[in-house]
Amino acid sequence: MEFRRHTLKNGLELVAECDAEAYSSALGFFVRSGSRDETEEVAGVSHFLEHMAFKGTPSRSADDVNREFDELGAHYNAFTNEEATVFYAAVIPECQDRAVDLLGDILRPSLREEDFDTEKQVILEEIRMYDDQPPFGADEKVKALHYGPHPLGRSVLGTAESITALRVEQMRSYFQSRYSPGNIVVAAAGALDFDALVRALERCCGPWEPFAAERIVTRPKFHDGYEVMRKESATQQYALQLAPAPAAEDEDRFAAKLVATILGDDSGSRLYWELIDPGLAEQAAVSHYEYEGAGAFMTYMSCEPEQAGENLERIRALFTRAEAGGFTAAELEQAKNKIRSRIVLSAERPRGRMFVVGSDWVHRREYRSVDDDLKTVAAIKLDDLHAVLAKYPVTRSTTVTIGPLAELPAGK
């Protein structure tokens, strides 16, 4: 396992974890472009742009792009979140250079109006699809309430209205503000020919002109709040809570992950025994999300509507107990064992490592090996977890619930 890196003259960075023993190669282009970079007028443009990248370039039609990815036998896709759009492919090693050429090329898409209009229909269908799947709507609402006017409160998908109103010129100008080579990190992992990778990148992305693509990061102010959204067609009631937590650049983010595991992992956690094992909720979980300049504990619960009020109270009481009484050494050990196993299992696929290497670099310009992560987790003490809970109380949260209920009292 060897870490190597290279920076193109135009600012595009390559970071790679080379593993000669691997069977495949994974490549990901991480563009610092997400909903936090948007304005109200273009809500959803980052995600729409991700779709448009597959619709053709000056040298490839949309059919060519899809066909060539399939010819490589690639496992490929793309996703967009609050702060990044990631295009990735896993291929057999001999296809490495062709995969770089293709992924690089689609990051300079033509953005043709006709394709834009057709793809707009696909995006609208995607929004309608999610709209039929509760708790859709509540996830965006809870972010909006929690972050207030801060850009992290923005919707990733946008709304049917914002997408319908979006014009291709707006997308082109958004592209010109985000897809600068200096705003892109290429992460690679697995069986790599690093020198060939550098050559392929230089060939494909070297000619790209750099331009300004700033992101001003401020730490958000948090707002607590409570809102009930009614969706009569839903069968279950859903609740989402956000509470502040360590950010991507904070040292205590590992401790925060252990806190989330003890409180709300999907097996053997406090919430599991409180709500899942007795059949009071279908799902109840706490996860830790990290962004640039902010982090969040996200609590998710779904259950039959009549049970929702009591469950919210139980969650509140369980969090209050944890804040007052802390955790036990046995709980910490159990959480560490789970996390250790997950780190090792997910690292077995180059794809899994590529995402970790890429997001570590995008967030902190830092390379961490699997062993680094394992050692950090092993060294965490109970006091570290208690310090996280003291600094970021999980009870200081914003809650949105959605489902058939017209009203639902907040948990006390």
Binding site: F69, G73, W273, P278
Partner: protein
Amino acid sequence: MSQTILSHTFANGLVLVAQPMSSLQSAAFTFLVPAGCVYDPAAAGGLSSFACEMALRGAGERDSRQFVLDLDNLGVERSEAVFDSHTSYSGATLAENLPAALAVYADVLQRPHLPAEQLEAARLVMFQELRAVDDEPSQKAMIELRRRYYPKPWGRPSQGDEEALAAIDDEAIRDFVDRHYRPNGTILGVAGRVDWEQLKDCVERALGGWQPRPEQPIVAISAPVKYEHIDYSSNQTQVGIAYPTVPYRHPQYFTAWGAVGVLSGGMSARLFTEVRERRGLCYSVYASYHSLRELAGVFCYAGTSAERAQETLDVTVGELLRLAEGVESHEVVRLKARIKSSLIMQQESSSSRSSSLARDWYHLGYARTLEEVGRQIDALTSEGISAYLVENPPRDFTIVTLGPAELEVPVGVS
């Protein structure tokens, strides 16, 4: 990619099939227990799932808390699922923890407590799962399609129904586990960093004393449905289409599978290209191959807004019918590239190998190596697939729609 698959049948009928994968640090296991939902009595749909939920609530020396705690401390990423023919218990962990994890599951299979005092909690869990499906229209549509496509009891939803779940008692669960949790018919697939002899000894110690039980026959009753609409309040209409194909063990399986791969798979496949890329009709559209031991089906899905649902159904069915005209060689070239790289990447995952090994054994009585699958894929040609499609064109469709309004089945669909 050189690999060895080893297998052993124990005196009580239990089959162990394993592939050592020395490049990994993990090991994974999949138990297929012949206790699938086809064995649910007609009036007790969901019994197999209920039994599975109860079996995880304590076994051997462990109560339900100790059970979860021990598996967590062993770092086992576990999952359970109830399929038509089997209940599956699977997990993956660091290789050194495999023997201890298998010992825990040996208790689940042979000595589950099925604690009466937890019956009501487990029943609530079952209800929650049933209700959750109601909020996932695409999943619901495909469950209803499967139910109508296969002759009963095949294709029944493993979640059961509310009325039946409400009536299931302690005795029914015990009786189900007594009859169906048996070593003869159980297949244990293991893949990852393992030593075969040690593994075999470990399984012998843990499961060698498990007592066989009689096999349970299944009588299937066919009542084909052509089209059914289910009213559902939603923006989108879910379209599900199924048609017959050959099962996994059939000599022409790979050819038939290749035809479905031309239809759906990569983004250049026909359904994605014609329904989504050219017409923007939907976000999600696919066809997938599903095989029981004797029966199989191709299941197609598209979800689209209600006013464009008729066009989506027409275009999708049009693509299925067009398949009978044959496939192009460039389509088969891409299909092969995709499958071959999947085969290579399967070697990076102990979990996916362990479940493939167990599934292969059930269908074939042995497990195919990835090399053998690779040879079968190499042998595919556009001529071969086209000839198969002339003899076996997609037809005899079963169609289910779920949404605000009924659709019209296109002309020319038998």
